[in-house]
Subunit: 145 residues, 2 copies
Amino acid sequence: MQLDKLHYAILNELQSDARSSNAAIGRKIGLTAPAVAERIKKLQEAGIIKGFSAVVDYSKLEYIHNVLIAVKLQPNMIASFLKETEKIEGIVKMIHTTGEYCFFLHLFLKSVEELTVLLDRFGKFGDTITYSILSVPIDYKPIHF
Amino acid sequence: MQLDKLHYAILNELQSDARSSNAAIGRKIGLTAPAVAERIKKLQEAGIIKGFSAVVDYSKLEYIHNVLIAVKLQPNMIASFLKETEKIEGIVKMIHTTGEYCFFLHLFLKSVEELTVLLDRFGKFGDTITYSILSVPIDYKPIHF
DNA sequence: GGTGAAAGCATCTGGTG
DNA sequence: CACCAGATGCTTTCACC
């Protein structure tokens, strides 16, 4: 897909405020509402826009424990580990990297007991290191074009 | 702020589709559009909803390098490090943890040259480990209530 | 939290370069 | 092919109950 300046302007607007109307975006960038709607649809079909989401502060709700877990998997465990993590609520991000600790998980929990249960479940797959999160200075920060 | 089942239902809807109309949400959960609008406004004012954002696949754009950097800061460097990272484009998440490597950054870059420049900038603050990201199996996954 | 009217918006259709 | 313009049905917004 070939993107022009207007596509990038639309992405910037939608990253700042996904609930902004097509008409309002169009006014800012010089297009009519149907043209904006069409471009957004194409961006979604191309997979460039994966979705629109409310950014929720889970720590203000019952998810008061916020941890980072690094996991060093045993060989040939990737597929089953991925399957296991799919079932777990509270993982907001999981990164698969090169290097010694090959998975990093950012997750929110309601209690310390949940963490114990979770680490027990992960024990089957390999070694873990759990870091308590003191703060998340940058979260869901959009890249502007 | 006291939340009831309807608040959580609204959060679920908005996490799945932030562009869903108040009227459509209202139909699903049994409220009128003005009531939904009012509740969303209150959730934003309470800081529970931090914003609404398009989830963009940066790797489909020019941001083709995707890395995780762990940073072990020298003492008394936190404030200046935070200030430095504010200026850097491409950091989508930065987590401050307890433990040996006390900052973890997930970031997108346009080229390997940018990574060199960045690691040089971080050198002033402490030691770094850079992990290449093979995949991000879970990204911006909402927690449903 | 609902209701009703007015303004605004999304969406479809047909037409233009 | 992307866009615009006009028409229709929904939606948002505000007053008020």
